[in-house]
Subunit: 317 residues, 3 copies
């Protein structure tokens, strides 16, 4: 997330009770987790395994639990005991949990010609464009941005918290949810089916690109980015921080793993499991996913095993 | 859909600005897309590849973008530049989008002894029979017909728009949704679980037959027809225009492709992918689906490959 | 379910018009179906195939449609024509269907610091602890018990009726739902995603253990018991009466069959199908599920079939 305005590093250090090391005269413009970090951002790291990745990332300011690292030129450390708690403190400050008790929050903006049907919830700071239709029992949570001519069918949930936890097995609870301070952006002319769930980003945006159409019961994880004019079949699930380039087609019940990319105009056939980045302009199938024609051939080869067995046994006798 | 009353062909021609060719003295009784067309119906076709199919279909009146075809005896053409737009105009005329802003629309009819729980939405022209229970947060959209003794559990959506688009890649938006002017019919004694989605037909009806029971999170596409006394497990998805005959059992997470038929009393085991029409009174499994026993044997054969390899390598040496 | 207080067996016999046989002087303390039965319980059986199982179960009192069995010492029979109808009569007596027409029923108890957002339904006798957040459009049905610090995201349904039917193919309707007189228990610090469905037990409790986190669109069947600190990925489905021990991880779209156990700290990779009890502290994959490494090797072996074929054919020529 970007802050509403740049803040001085000393203000941040005071907020989270941190010791400053390095180049501390530039302001911080936002905070992001490592997958989505940009120059001017704060990032946090608490495991030595990831120290270097974070120090060498685009982030300008690293919230860290050691002083025993080399600070890259022009960057600063904010040294604390628990970087995770510091992250929670900062994001809570800028995006505190403020549930609205109204069906449509006072801070929501709704464009001309947009229809909001009964039992819809629209949270704080939501911005919906013109000529949209929001069907009954839809939930649109805080900070969601929706373009023009968007259709969201009944029962869909936009902007749920990311399924993104810090694992601390030595605590009473093993998991602690990271605050979701990101949002969801739905671009113009998108149509979303019934009972879909589109989670907000942990620190950045989950995006559905212009003209994309989504069938019923589709699940999009945090910071998923769907390109323009994609077609997503029913009961598809896409895990966090994965990108679909423009014109991708996923048929029903496809599962897509996290942090990968599906190339432009790729087609993935029903029930496939995409476990790695795949190139565009090809058709895929199977779990794990492979070229669809190769998968069909493989299925034929499997059916030949009995004949092969017979031949080998005959040769043997 | 059938029109409320037959209309003269000249009235239709004026509505969509069409030139009439052929036998134009009979009235039109309805409009359907090609999968569901009947005598008296209008149908539309805009791609030369499908001209013959539509001209030879049961439809009496063909909305088409050419005069350069032979008109079958007793039929008429309605010649326009964009048959798709003409279809949208006609269906919009008879079933315009009229969102109700009430939880239960004024035109809904609800039978004696039926319980409607809080946060339920019931749209225009919905007809619900006697002694039904509609649990909280259910959405029942326009023109749905529900019989007697039906249970619909919480969060389910009945009558969402079909996921059925006209693809026009040369436009700004690649996809344009066809108006769903069909409906959903739920027969007597059906029980539907929580958070299911049952889409309305594009031009005909999606039907769930008498006595069928459906578990949670089941997705039924447009114009799916489920027979009597079927059992549909959780998280099953069935694509558009597919038929299940009576007594079919689908276990959890089964996926069924479009426009196929599953025969009477067939059983499909969990997670299978049904990609073709299958006969009744048999048990199936696997993706793509096959006889369940054969699939089990195939799984055993796969486990013998290492032994086969060893034998061949030994023979070789 | 346990009765609010123990009841005399003669009172039960009068209620269901049963003939008593055996040791009838002890009170009945509850009623359960065979998977969950305890001493003091009533159980019912109508098929000779299961007579012995029920007579030898922990149940003290057997509702049965024969006198022609040996009554175990200290137990009693309640002989009726239709044991199933007797079960329905008893459970209806203690837990009749009483839909609330309020968003939050009068008998619901909600702890301090708990936030209930708009369009939430909370049924009769629901008990929610402190500092929970219940997001919009959530449905929580009768008798559900929720601990402290629980998060339930938008659109989720807790306490739907079990998908558990008595099959009577000779009737007009093939299926008759057994009354769900059980409930759902969500322990402290559990977090449940958007649009999940967690069914109540038929006669006992569906339980989600302390600290467990559940992603969006997860389906838990009746009497599923999830241990502490489990992680359940999106679109997972778990069928009835299955147990996950503590610390189990299921990735996205995993399906788990009924009445089995997944051992402590087991990990099941995405899209797998768990069809049998599996040991803890191992990683699994595939449909049907197997050791994940073995499955990976099997996938490699399948790709060697063409080479094997070539070798055999060459040897042959």
């Amino acid at each position: 997330m970007k802050f509403p305005a740049p803040v001085s590093l000393s203000w941040v250090a005071t907020l989270i009770n941190a010791e400053l090391v390095g180049t501390t005269d530039k302001p911080a413009t936002g905070i992001n987790e490592i997958h989505k970090v940009e120059a001017g951002d704060l990032v946090f790291v608490d495991h030595p395994k990831y120290y270097i990745t974070c120090l060498e990332s685009a982030a300008s300011f690293i919230i860290i639990n050691t002083k025993d690292v080399t600070v890259p030129e022009g960057k600063a450390l904010l040294v604390v005991d628990s970087p995770f708690e510091a992250y929670q403190t900062i994001t809570n400050h800028f995006r505190p949990f403020q549930p609205s008790n109204k069906s449509i929050s006072d801070s929501a903006i709704i464009g001309e010609g947009t229809t909001i049907m009964p039992h819809v919830y629209i949270g704080n700071h939501v911005n919906i464009g013109k000529n949209c239709v929001i069907y009954p029992n839809v939930t649109i949570l805080d900070y969601t941005i929706i373009g023009n001519n968007v259709v969201i069918q009944a029962g869909t949930v936009i902007g749920g918290d990311a399924f993104y936890y810090n694992t601390k097995k030595n605590r009473e609870a093993w998991f602690k949810r990271m605050n979701s301070c990101g949002n969801v952006i739905i671009e113009d002319n998108v149509e979303i089916g019934c009972s879909c769930t589109i989670d907000r980003g942990v620190s950045a945006s989950t995006i559905v690109g212009k003209g994309t159409i989504i069938d019923n019961m589709v699940q999009l994880g945090h910071e998923v980015v769907i390109g323009k004019n994609c077609l997503i079949g029913s009961q598809v699930g896409i895990a966090g921080v994965t990108t679909l380039e423009d014109g991708v087609t996923l048929w029903g019940q496809v599962g897509v793993s996290k942090t990968l990319t599906i190339g432009e105009n790729a087609v993935v056939l029903a029930q496939a499991g995409v476990n790695k980045t795949i190139e565009g302009n090809k058709t895929y199938w199977g779990t794990p996913v492979m070229n669809a024609k190769d998968k069909q051939k493989e299925n034929v080869w499997v059916k030949r095993i009995p004949a092969l067995w017979k031949k080998v046994m005959e040769a043997d006798s």
